[in-house]
């Protein structure tokens, strides 16, 4: 019975990857078209290839960490690998980063709601209501929340695929050319930047104490990278390919704005079909980010329980979200200049370093 309870309290391999699919695809829909249109110009549709090539390298590191340190808190893993003081220091940096990233995502989501749908509603009021919902959900176990995603991910994937197909019919081949060898440097830099966007979804693998490791982890990782490659190219073709890079680089929410233009069998405003599920997926994304923050908090302060601190962290992240920027454009600029590189460093580079040091010290 006990063993069964322990098994059910863990996030299975499948659930973890489905969560990564959801969060990655949603963050790509939010940030990728505009970023690629701006940085890779007309070669935008080739950039995901570089993302794929670099992403493949990260999954062996996650695999080593999850296999060797099964059931351990990420900060405890860092303490074990880097030593007590250095590990706690790295853990503190990662924790601070996760808090800032959560604050950014909450603020971005709220600004999105305010710009797209609730134009006359005060942003801070929306923020408080959304944080109230998230704070309430955080009192449940991570496993239960992640299993909700098991159901919704397929609806989300179906709707995303539908929107991509409907948009692709209007793609203009003129927007995809000319591409020459001169575009290669910008394709590489934008591909690396794209990794910073995808990394938001890969943060899920920091829940090392909840994810149950299985042998097929590496195989699933390659599958996820392949999904990111295909979804990235199709998403870019259906947004930048339809409107051209110069238009998309000036839009605030390219994906949402392009699904607003869909006409299907003479029906307009098809986006009403997508909006509720997309908001729900956003809530799942932010809730999972908060779970990661709480996991780091638990490890950093060596707490046996984090429930008493949930509302405190929610209020802190909310206040940080408000203080982060005065307007949406600062927020967007900070994402391009700071958050992308921070994500690459903490989510992709740090696990690689942990895995390499663990191997060198013969811990793994």
């Amino acid at each position: 019975m006990r063993v069964m309870e322990e098994q059910t309290a863990k996030i299975s391999n499948r659930t973890a990857f489905l969560l990564a699919v959801t969060i990655t695809l949603r963050s790509m829909e939010y940030f990728l078209p505009q970023y690629m249109a701006d940085s890779a110009k007309q070669a935008f549709w080739l950039s995901p290839l570089f993302m794929f090539a670099l992403l493949i390298l990260v999954f062996p590191a996650y695999s080593i960490i999850l296999k060797t340190f099964a059931g351990m808190n990420p900060v405890d893993i860092m303490r074990k690998v880097f030593g007590r003081v250095a590990g706690a220091l790295v853990g503190a940096v990662a924790f601070i980063w996760m808090v800032i990233l959560s604050a950014f995502l909450v603020r971005y989501f709220v600004e999105g709601l305010s710009i797209k749908f609730y134009t006359y509603v005060d942003t801070e009021l929306l923020l408080i209501f959304i944080l109230l919902v998230i704070g309430f959900v955080l009192h449940f176990k991570t496993v239960y929340v992640s299993r909700i995603n098991d159901i919704f991910v397929f609806i989300f994937l179906f709707l995303s695929a539908l929107s991509f197909i409907l948009l692709l019919t209007r793609m203009d081949v003129k927007n995809l050319a000319p591409v020459s060898s001169h575009n290669v440097p910008s394709m590489i830099t934008s591909g690396i930047g794209g990794l910073g966007i995808v990394a938001i979804g890969l943060n899920i693998f920091f829940l090392t104490d909840r994810i149950a490791y299985k042998k097929n982890f590496l195989f699933s990782g390659v599958g996820l990278s392949g999904f990111i490659l295909v979804a990235g190219i199709v998403l870019l073709l259906s947004t930048v390919g339809v409107f051209g890079y110069s238009v998309v680089s000036k839009l605030t929410f390219p994906y949402t704005q392009s699904i607003k233009t869909i006409h299907f069998l003479g029906i307009d405003r098809v986006d009403a079909l997508f909006v509720p599920i997309l908001q729900f997926i956003d809530i799942i994304t932010i809730t999972m980010m908060f779970f990661i923050v709480l996991t780091f908090f638990k490890g950093l302060f060596k707490l046996e329980e984090v429930k008493p601190f949930i509302w405190l962290l929610v209020a802190f992240v909310g206040a940080l979200g408000i203080a982060l920027a005065n307007n949406f454009f600062d927020l967007l600029a900070s994402f391009r200049e700071v958050f992308i590189y921070g994500n690459i460093f903490i989510t992709l580079f740090l696990p690689l370093v942990i895995a390499i040091v663990a191997k060198l010290r013969k811990l793994a």
């Binding site: 008493p308 509302w311 405190l312 206040a319 982060l324 005065n326 307007n327 600062d330 600029a333």
Partner: protein
């Protein structure tokens, strides 16, 4: 800012009292430290000439939006 003070105050009173009852004074210290930081951020954000933390950071990095 006023809303933030009320929210943080309510959280502190409720959770703080639980910690005092359970004699978890280290947890109480963490609670108060985070509350102080939350209120400080709220105070910063409500200042008239405050441009936003991201904006100051971009200025410091000499990035023109």
């Amino acid at each position: 800012m006023m809303e933030l003070v009320i929210i943080v105050g309510l959280i502190d009173v409720y959770e703080g009292w639980q910690f005092i009852k359970q004699r978890r004074f280290a947890w109480l210290a963490v609670l108060l430290a985070f509350s102080a930081m939350t209120l400080f951020l709220g105070y910063l954000a409500s200042a008239q000439d405050f441009k936003g933390l991201a904006s100051y950071l971009l200025d410091a990095m000499n990035i023109h939006k």
